[in-house]
Amino acid sequence: MEILVYGIINSVTLALMALGFTLVYGISGLPNFAHGALYIVTGFIAWSFIHTLKLNFLLAMFLSLFVTGLIGAAIYRLFLIRVRGMATSEIIASYAIGLAILEGLRWGGFKGMTYTLPVFIEGSLQILGVQVDLQRIMVVVVGVVVMGLLWLFTHYNRIGLALRAMAQDERAALMLGIDSDRMAVAAMFLGSFLAGLAAVVLLPLGNIVVEAGYNVLIMAIAVCIVGGLGSWIGAILAAFLIGFVQILTVVYIESHFQIVVALLAIIVTLILKPSGLFGRQKELEERV
């Protein structure tokens, strides 16, 4: 039962970390390597709102998500738009921006182990005989709700439909009058918002440290590669696959091998099915 309960929690955690990354790539084809930095920056923004501006906890959380979304949109509008379509340059540029944000935070004095966000709900309860803290249950609830809302947004909302159209065929979308740059900005806003959302529900479990930005990026990349770049369903399935294998590794092998799981998953996927579980890059399959 422990494996089931904590497997689900771990999987939803990974899915939350990766959704923003896969959304941006799926829509604009842009690998946003600043994703981990946006995750961490949200934590520090929320912390500043709560401790410096003394804002109400929920208001601080919501505002920090909005600010992170705007930062993401600004990153696209100011920098990434110039290298759009040049895959290598996109990776280098977004990674450099992420690096600048993370190292800038460190340089600005955001270091140490005492930056924390309060949990939404205190306490713990028993689920199927397994004790779980309420914040982790909330992570699962938020994860499921976000996945549901994303599905509704991309199927019933005009902007969501436009984003899907872009993801399916950018040229056809252009012919239908959809502004691809505007949609890419919207995707970056939404992707950054999701990175921030992951941060505000996950960071209260621990503390806000710059180094976590790199870990989040690695996990997001692992989930997206295994699931298939740009595929939301694939990302969710991959998160569950990696999440459960990690927990099984901790229980049946050794806890320090859990980090290997994500990296091994990337290698195995790239060898056996380079486009991932639900990837659409058939040319990669053909190369193999």
Binding site: T114, L205, E211, Y214, H256
Partner: protein, 426 residues
Amino acid sequence: MKAKFVVPWVLFSFFILLFSPPPAALSAEKPIIIGCPLATAFLYGWDAERAIRLAVEEINAAGGVKVGGKKRPFAVEVMDTRDLEPGVPVSDALLTLEKLILEKKADFIVGGPVRSEAALAAMDLLSKYKKVSILTTGALTPAYHARVAENYDKFKYCFRISGEAVWMVTGEIIPCLVDIGNKFKVNKLFIMVQDVAHARGGGALIAKIMAGKNWTVLGDPEIYPTGTTDFSMGLLKAKKEGAQVILIWMDMPESSILLKQWYDLKVPALPFGSIIAPAEQPGFWKATEGKGEFCLANVVNAGNAPSKATPWTMKFFNAYTKRWKIEPEGYGTSSSYMAVYALKEAIEKADSLDPEAVIPALEKTDMMGVYGRIRFNAKNHQIIPSLDPKEGAVGTIFQWQKGKRVVVYPDKIATGQIQLPPWMKK
């Protein structure tokens, strides 16, 4: 009218010049440069830097270091080694050290490198450039002083004024665990360590020794990769197997998550941090919203938490708090502070900056410092430890109680008794 104003001003200025101290008579002398290779983004780096700067400010304010008939000030050059960051290669720390020696023209090295692996690799570099170094923080490996003993002529430049793993384990942690066992009638130990050399080694050593002391060590030590953010499976395992003490050896910031989860899951076992960096800091209480209460933490040397080990302990503690608006935060603080004073005394005794003269002077160091009597073993240059501050350098194990760091071990400097969390009491 003008002269009426000018004359008093001229006279006033004349008197100011006459009675003011000679303008920077001290700073006119060439400073003695202390190079500090430190992981400044981490506790064991920034607390060391602050302590070194405090000692230097105090020494300079008192006139400086008397050498060659002149009073020379200390100057501090700090460079970030980043050696506590995951994925940063040891070579980066070595490059930083070399830069301090060659570019910043450091006369002495005080502080790190902080990670044991980097500190060991730096020994050859210190030997190559003949730079006297006093290691003050981070590196706990016994291999450091063992290398000095094995090849004294090559590594005689390397001193360590802080504790090391073997004494820490056998002289402090094990006796403290045995005391806990006797006092609370507990004997089931669960070990959780970080996947780094000192933690793996320390965890394995404690497991081996405690098994020989009629304690049940539950399974192998659980080893967690640096950056782990979920310890629930390990904690549930500890709970299921009936652990009564959880020994933690981790220097990563995420280890505070472990304590939060321990609290949320109400694991009926006392958390004992042989090394648990976040719990060392005064801000830990607020950061965990009090969930870290009852956690024991080892800060290696006295003075890193409030106690009355020597008359200098609280003097240092208060001076640091006044200067940096925060209490000494953990391992590496008092030792870095004392290293500067030990160096000053050795330079003055040698009346030279020549390493060949300073080394024997450092070997003869014998002073009552912040954490007890400061003496080096002349053969391996490791500080001589003790449980009595009158005899040697004492460590400190404290427990978080009602928002305060209460020293519980060693007995000679203890300010309180170990307590169990309410959900552990029968």
